[in-house]
Symmetry: C2
Subunit: 112 residues, 2 copies
């Protein structure tokens, strides 16, 4: 299993906060400005900016500024990191279960 720990640390940590996940869910609907993104959250704008910084450092979100407006969008490529890691773990485990099943079947065959 390939070890991309530093970025996986960042990605999972970014997603471990429900405010940040809600921000990602909002940005999955469409790109939006910082203040529009912030509007449903009962916290100060600097707090939202800090969450946004965490999301950007993780690679889950990108943004660019035009005039005084910063527009944010999600970057689905980074979601691939998460999906790949979990799928790798799962397939390793399920492959093992299959081999175990084969082994049990072999034993059953020998008993006859």
């Amino acid at each position: 299993m390939l070890n991309e720990s530093p970025s996986l640390d960042r990605v999972f940590h970014a997603l471990a906060d429900s405010t940040r996940r809600a921000m990602v869910e909002r940005l999955a609907l469409r790109p939006m400005s910082v203040s529009e993104l912030a509007s449903p959250f009962a916290m100060s704008l600097p707090a939202v900016m800090q969450h946004l910084a965490v999301l950007e450092e993780s690679g889950l979100v990108r943004s660019h500024k035009a005039g005084r407006v910063r527009t944010c969008r999600i970057d689905t490529e980074t979601f691939g990191l998460v999906e790949r890691w979990t799928a790798d773990c799962r397939s390793e485990w399920e492959g093992r279960l299959d081999k175990l099943e084969d082994y049990v079947n072999t034993l059953k065959g020998q008993q006859k």
Copy 2:
């Protein structure tokens, strides 16, 4: 999108630490005792126990004790939570891109 925040918080937080991810990767190979699980890590056993507690509370790992040995195994069902959430975000986003593409194609058609 269904909001399973409390458990998603726990699951993502559990996976945000490289030691805990390495523990999960080890347990994906096969179930093992606490001390075997702990053996490759350069930290005290209590530290490993604390990581294990986080993993168990998240539902990613289960364990049971027989005699003085506690055996740990991963629970792939909980991985489904992660996979579902990320897939939901991705499909929401990609659905939007498709609709945008349709719209662009409509405009192109109108130009002719």
